[in-house]
Amino acid sequence: MAELLTNFGIEPKFFLTMALGFVLLFLILKKFAFGPIFNMLQARQDKIRHDLDDAEARRNEMVRLQKEYEQRLAQIEDEARNKIQSAVKEAQAAREELLHKAHDEAQTIVARGQAEIAREREIAMAQMRNQIAQLSTMAAGRIIKKTLDPNAHMSLVDDVIADIGSQNGHSAVRGGAGMSGGLGTAGSSVSGGTV
């Protein structure tokens, strides 16, 4: 052994010292340094693993969030589309209603106009009737005045006198000249006690 070491140019004593020192150092290190170093390494490893797990979790979370956002966006888009559709529907309904109302109003105006025309026509007709009636009776009055001779007057008066007796104040008196006359009572009927 010693020879072998010597052959390689190594002093066996030196080697032995070195070996002994190494063993000693190893023992010391084992006693005092290996534990903490292992622990440190272990902790480091744990931390790295934990960090990796964390990163993984965050990535998962991000993916989840992204999916959620996408869903939310899709939902918002749906909602927006629905709102637009309902707004369009409302606008159409409003337009229909406006058209309907305008149509109704137009109908009302037309009906009112027609009623107004009818009323005006009725008034005009009534005025015309009144004028015709007035003119006719005026003309008739003039003709009667001109044509009634004393005999006709006498006969008219005689008829009335005769009729006063026959109808006793309640029924119609027949006048002369082919016209029906009339008789009215002024106020209440006669009662013996009040006269």
Binding site: Q134, I144, M154, G165, G175, A177, L183, A186
Partner: protein, 184 residues
């Protein structure tokens, strides 16, 4: 005039009427009442004095006595004094009217008015009076009047009845009917 006044008027008129019948002075009393009414109409101050609450009854009596003494029947003068005594002098004109009505009823007489376009002949007037007397059972005091707006025929007012046989009214009815005619 309130209802109480008209009842009082009737009561006073009946009382005076009874007194006048008893004294057989119906015409004289009626004429006196008419004259008094005429006096109250021509001088409204007289009624104002009689109605005035601040003027004593004594003075009112003196005033009436001064105005009507010797001109009206004593029964009428006493009646006026009674009205003064009862503070009812305001009813004098109405009493006169009521008295006339009572007198008419007592004698069964009635006013009538005939309006014609041309004057009635005497025989027509007589015939009309006879006709009205038969119809009403009353003696008729007939007044005739000419109004050429009647055109023809006759309008007779007797009591509160109206006989309208005038051509004017018939024309008016014709006009009304013409106005009602519907023209399409």
């Amino acid at each position: 005039m309130g209802g109480g006044d008209s009842r009082a008027t009737r009561r006073y008129a009946r009382a005076l009427f009874q007194a006048a019948i008893n004294g057989q002075q119906l015409d004289a009393v009626a004429e006196n009442l008419d004259a008094i009414t005429q006096a109250t109409r021509t001088s409204p101050q007289l009624m104002n004095v009689l109605r005035h609450p601040r003027i004593t009854r004594e003075r009112k009596r003196d005033l009436l006595h001064h105005i009507f003494e010797g001109r009206v029947q004593p029964v009428v003068e006493n009646f006026l004094f009674l009205l003064i005594e009862k503070d009812r002098s305001g009813v004098i004109p109405n009493v006169a009217e009521q008295f006339r009505e009572l007198l008419d009823e007592y004698r069964r007489e009635m006013d009538a008015e005939a309006i014609s376009a041309v004057p009635l002949t005497d025989s027509q007037t007589q015939a009309l009076r006879a006709q009205l007397e038969t119809t009403t059972g009353y003696k008729i005091r007939l007044e005739t009047r000419v109004d050429d707006s009647m055109l023809g025929g006759l309008v007779v007012r007797v009591g509160d009845k109206l006989y309208d046989g005038s051509l004017a009214t018939q024309l008016q009815r014709m006009e009304e009917q013409l106005r009602q005619v519907k023209v399409s």
